[in-house]
């Protein structure tokens, strides 16, 4: 069920767009669309009926009014909750109960703050995959072992995301990578020693 922005009292089926009365959709068991027969549930909240925000910020009417930091001719409506600069309604980013200016949001995104990040590479998972999957092709561990250690160490230093995430993947990846490197080192040393020993005996 989708509410029409132009006419919020008319809803449409999510699947086929058939007109549905919102009062029936908001029922506990919802309603079935007569066209596609899929069951529709949902609820519209008061924000859907809020009048659209004005496109232009109001200008300064009196001399003692505070002006926007970015637009000196516009009247300030709120201060930024991070830096304190006055903001007009154009510069105001209302996120939850707080208001921020564009510069603070951009800075927070650049710092990969967990609250603002929109995309995050899980380096610990990449490290774990690098440590485990190449085991199938034995020779590939010659490269993937050190790579897993490097990625695991990078994952341990990676900035935290918005969600809680354990560190066991990084630790397991480093351990597996270390084991692979160790095995290869033992094999090389053994092979080298054998060759040296045989060469010396033969000589």
């Amino acid at each position: 069920m989708v509410v029409s922005v132009d006419n919020p009292t008319v809803a449409a089926c999510l699947g086929c767009g058939y007109a549905l009365p919102p009062s029936e959709v908001a029922d506990e068991n919802g309603t079935r669309c007569p066209r596609c027969r899929s069951r529709q549930l949902g609820k519209l909240f008061p924000a859907a009926f809020r009048p659209p925000a004005t496109a232009a910020a109001p200008g300064i009417q009196e001399a003692n009014e505070a002006a926007c930091f970015h637009h000196p001719t516009k009247r300030a409506s709120v201060p930024c909750d991070h830096c304190g600069r006055f903001l007009c309604s154009l510069c105001q980013f209302a996120i939850g109960p707080q208001n921020f200016c564009p510069a603070c949001i951009e800075m927070a995104r650049a710092q990969a703050n967990g609250r603002w990040v929109a995309r995050r590479m899980n380096l610990d998972t990449v490290a774990l995959a690098t440590a485990t999957l190449p085991i199938l092709g034995v020779w590939t561990t010659l490269v993937s072992g050190p790579a897993a250690i490097y990625l695991g160490l990078r994952a341990l230093r990676q900035a935290p995301g918005p969600l809680p995430r354990g560190r066991w993947r990084s630790i397991v990846a480093i351990a597996l990578g270390a084991i692979q490197v160790l095995i290869w080192a033992i094999l090389f040393v053994t092979a080298f020693a054998t060759a040296l020993f045989q060469g010396g005996r033969l000589g």
Partner: protein, 319 residues
């Protein structure tokens, strides 16, 4: 701008390279779409949410498919004897059936904001939506409390977005198709037990009647399921039943024909199709085989045509 504490909500999209979750914070909802290596976050602040919409897809079409396949595979297994190979097509059907019976039909949940609709891939079943509703809706209502006076009038204006339906939709309570799937599994299980028993050499009129009974039961269940699927329209239901008869006979006949060709091409071995075909007209009169194949092809063509007729009829009803 510090990190927030998130509370996980029920419901998750799960796959080899997919892991979707929904998390609840103090002032917003966080939808996470993940390929396991990369997470993509979408935040929906309570003050900005216009509505939460949930659409439960109809499971009837899949139910029809299962209604055909499970009894037909059972009939095929009965006609050319049971073999563990039959479990290969039956297993995914069974897994789907168990998932459907346990969690309900698949669904989609979308959040509407001023930008449009945003899919919440983690909320794909009704129980997950109900948990979301119980935990999320009060928070949104509290966040938008000062906007309460902007709520719409209770009586909606006339609906003009689409033409009115030609038939009166039947108000249906929550579908409960579990009985059908349980019955289908029972038939398959009985068929398997019977076939295993029969492979040991136990023949007799009791088992023959059991075989006929199982076939009849699965066929009746097929008809009932189709009648339920097309309960809105009696004519469509009758047409669907006719279609089901044609398809069932076509598949059953194809199985017999395949078994006959296999038997004629290979020496008779223990466990190979033999007993049933000894009394089958194709076995008795092998010269009928080409005609039988042509008739089966005709049946399949009729079935496909019937399917299109049903779909066309359903489309006409709603336009």
């Amino acid at each position: 701008m510090d990190n927030l504490v998130y509370q996980p909500l029920p419901g998750r999209g799960f796959g080899l390279f997919r892991r979707d979750r929904v998390w609840l914070a103090e002032d917003h909802l966080l939808s996470v779409r993940s390929s396991r290596f990369v997470d993509i976050y979408e935040r929906f602040y309570f003050r900005d949410i216009y509505g939460i919409h949930f659409r439960e897809r109809t499971g009837e079409y899949w139910m029809i498919l299962n209604a055909f396949l499970i009894p037909c595979l059972t009939l095929l297994a009965l006609s050319i004897r049971f073999h563990w190979g039959w479990a290969i097509p039956l297993m995914p059907l069974g897994a789907w059936t168990v998932a459907y019976a346990s969690f309900g039909a698949r669904a989609e949940c979308q959040v509407q904001t001023t930008l449009g609709l945003h899919l919440l891939p983690a909320i794909s079943r009704r129980p997950a939506y109900e948990a979301l509703r119980d935990q999320l809706f009060p928070k949104i209502e509290a966040a938008q409390a000062e906007l309460e006076s902007l709520s719409p009038p209770i009586v909606p204006p006339p609906l003009n977005l689409a033409p009115p339906p030609r038939i009166t939709p039947v108000v249906i309570q929550e579908p409960n198709q579990g009985w059908y799937f349980e019955g289908a599994f029972l038939v398959v299980a009985l068929a398997a037990i019977y076939s295993l028993w029969n492979q040991r050499g136990a023949h007799g009129i009791v088992f023959d009647w059991l075989e006929y009974g199982l076939s009849l039961a699965s066929f009746v269940m097929l008809l009932f399921s189709l009648a339920r699927a097309y309960r809105v329209d009696v004519g469509g239901g009758v047409l669907a039943c006719l279609w089901s008869i044609i398809v069932t006979q076509a598949i059953y006949g194809s199985g017999i024909a395949i078994a006959a060709s296999v038997q004629s091409a290979t020496p008779r071995l223990p466990g190979s199709p033999s007993r049933y075909l000894d009394h089958h007209p194709i076995r008795v009169l092998p010269q009928l085989l080409p005609y039988a194949s042509a008739a089966e092809a005709l049946c399949i063509a009729a079935a496909v045509a019937g399917l299109f007729l049903i779909l066309a009829r359903k489309n006409r009803q709603v336009e």
